[in-house]
Symmetry: C2
Subunit: 425 residues, 2 copies
Amino acid sequence: MADLIARRRALLGPNVSTFYDDPVHIVRGEDVWMWDAEGRRYLDCYNNVPHVGHCNPRVVQAICRQAATLNTHTRYLHEGILDYVERLTATYDDPLKTAILTCTGSEANDIALRMAEAMTGKRGIIATDATYHGNTTLVSHLSKSNVPEVGFGLGQYVRHVEAPDSYRIPDPDGQRFAAKVQASIDDLDRDGIGFAALIVCPLFLNEGFPAQAEGWLRPAAEAVRRAGGLLICDEVQAGFGRCGSHFWGHQKQGVVPDIVTMGKPMGNGHPVAGLVTRPEIMARFRGSFRYFNTFGGNPVSCAAATAVLEELQEKDLQANAARIGRLAQERLSDLALRYEVIGDVRQSGMVFGAEFVLDRDSKAPAAAYADRAVNRMRQRGIILSKLGRHKNTLKIRPPMPFGEDHLDLLMTTLDAVLAETPVTA
Amino acid sequence: MADLIARRRALLGPNVSTFYDDPVHIVRGEDVWMWDAEGRRYLDCYNNVPHVGHCNPRVVQAICRQAATLNTHTRYLHEGILDYVERLTATYDDPLKTAILTCTGSEANDIALRMAEAMTGKRGIIATDATYHGNTTLVSHLSKSNVPEVGFGLGQYVRHVEAPDSYRIPDPDGQRFAAKVQASIDDLDRDGIGFAALIVCPLFLNEGFPAQAEGWLRPAAEAVRRAGGLLICDEVQAGFGRCGSHFWGHQKQGVVPDIVTMGKPMGNGHPVAGLVTRPEIMARFRGSFRYFNTFGGNPVSCAAATAVLEELQEKDLQANAARIGRLAQERLSDLALRYEVIGDVRQSGMVFGAEFVLDRDSKAPAAAYADRAVNRMRQRGIILSKLGRHKNTLKIRPPMPFGEDHLDLLMTTLDAVLAETPVTA
């Protein structure tokens, strides 16, 4: 282990973070399980990339079959990308009917921001102050926690709005958030930059998946449209049925975005990502840029992505996400009756968690406690993490086949960890 | 075919170009061959992505085996990325010993430019006026032919130098090119932007792979170092043994770059790419940015990339590239004795071609002729393209297992096409 960490530092450089104080060395995965080099089994309550389960046989078979048949770029005609985009766009509301396929969600968001500039002639982008949308030079500026010292001056075009926080800052109908967005639009106008787009994860997953009524995002979307800007929904985490009630997070939010970007779960780990948009936005972009992505939409990527859609449908995994999300909410609420440290319980289908606080009255975030709990869960064989505005919320976001037995093991273990972990700042 | 093109336009948008006036509909690939939907076979003299051959069994098997075992991100420890980076950096000269793995060459170049800014505190980037380095918002500005109308104003940081052209503009020792680079450095200083990096394909493949003596790039590299900037070599096309004489193009050019980026051939079509650099540059970047790439360096990508290195080594494909390149030069030179339209013949190992001219004295480029020849070759079952400063040079860049029989079929067919194609503007 020490040897691996030393090699890693020498070969990959410093500050390449691992999860956990005591990193795991995973060598095998299957369904919702992972195994380390010593044969120890872990329940995966964290990874959304293996969306339909680690090493899902349908996806693996699709990759193998296509990789052995043909893998080339999209400057030759191929049915793979067309069949996939047809199937994908069928899950979207009406004007969202054209797509670009890329390899990463970062690439998709990088395109989306250029589309917004091409459509509006403006450069001002609004994101929340607790989000992450990717790693290109342009997109990395959307992360407030990660504003680089350098980055070709692109930070000037970004304004951060306060992330929603249903536990501390009531905003039942989204009007408060819309007002914050409007203030940032005004700010961009005042600075002569102008407003191009609001980009959000429709379920605000990095922000801590706040509890929001259906349609909560509508007022913000209206402010965006009034100002002539675009609404970009980043479904890299939220999409592909995870929220349970809808296939896409934005559908739950009652809005039809101008652009939707996708990534991580799309190919179950195979590097495929992309965006869908309205035909007129696509035409404007295609007229302004000669965009080509060598690996984007290749036959193997499309085979993997098609298998993911098939698996979701045939196993009805969206319904599973809804059911498990409800059960998780109940189990976490039960724990909250016994553990004062749980200040709030939230879920959005197959994303759920508890917010830890030092004191329920002050709601002071217990971030260090969350750290300890996450590391103790790992010691007990449960893989999860933490997130949120205050970095004090359990991030439980398992692969979609996560079932009741898995939930039971997770909650029983969490109970034991909460019992043994003293609440201190 | 018409149906496929219509679906493509509806689903992917306008201006998504295909190769050839009469696009090919490829459904299968094997070694240096591709087949269309009607069972017609094509000799692939163009694709560098299937570097060790379409559907190379070793690579396919590596992908299948690893995809069925584990595919996750690099925040868990895994030997795959470490073993691969060790093997990869062993092919590099000494200080280039740390790596970041990404999914696309565009992502790698996007990082390289940020590294240059982080190291120099400056933003000025120099590229040639006939190059392409990728598709992110920042990187797309390096293509002069593709300077977007929009793009967050990043064009201000780029200066284009005249691409080398060994046929028309003699520059035997690279001094002329170095002087052009120096003039751009001075220009960036004068404009208050300052100089951060020169980024080039070390063999200038998009520019038309000019004939250059070994060590030709040294004077330009010296100008870059004198000015305190970084030399970035983009080996996305040139690398992995293609030039025959060396494993990396920059080695042929007698320089050790500060950063080397890689892409297309690295995983034989699997989306894997990356860069190598000196430890102090990596440390500066890792200190300035919290870069993480979800799919980058995942176990399947590393398995595919490792299989490519193994295949190159065990089949000695670099030596094959050197041998075929020399034979191709001879065959093309023979054709030049009989066809006046061939103004120049050039090769750089497994990249070779002929430059077409309307007149050998004026050297007026015959770009339309090149178009016709490329399309007629396609009709005769030979897949190739054209490129270069004047878009009049055959681009012949086959998979590395391309052998003598394949070369013979290519040259015999080219002879027939040249014989039947009238030379007109």
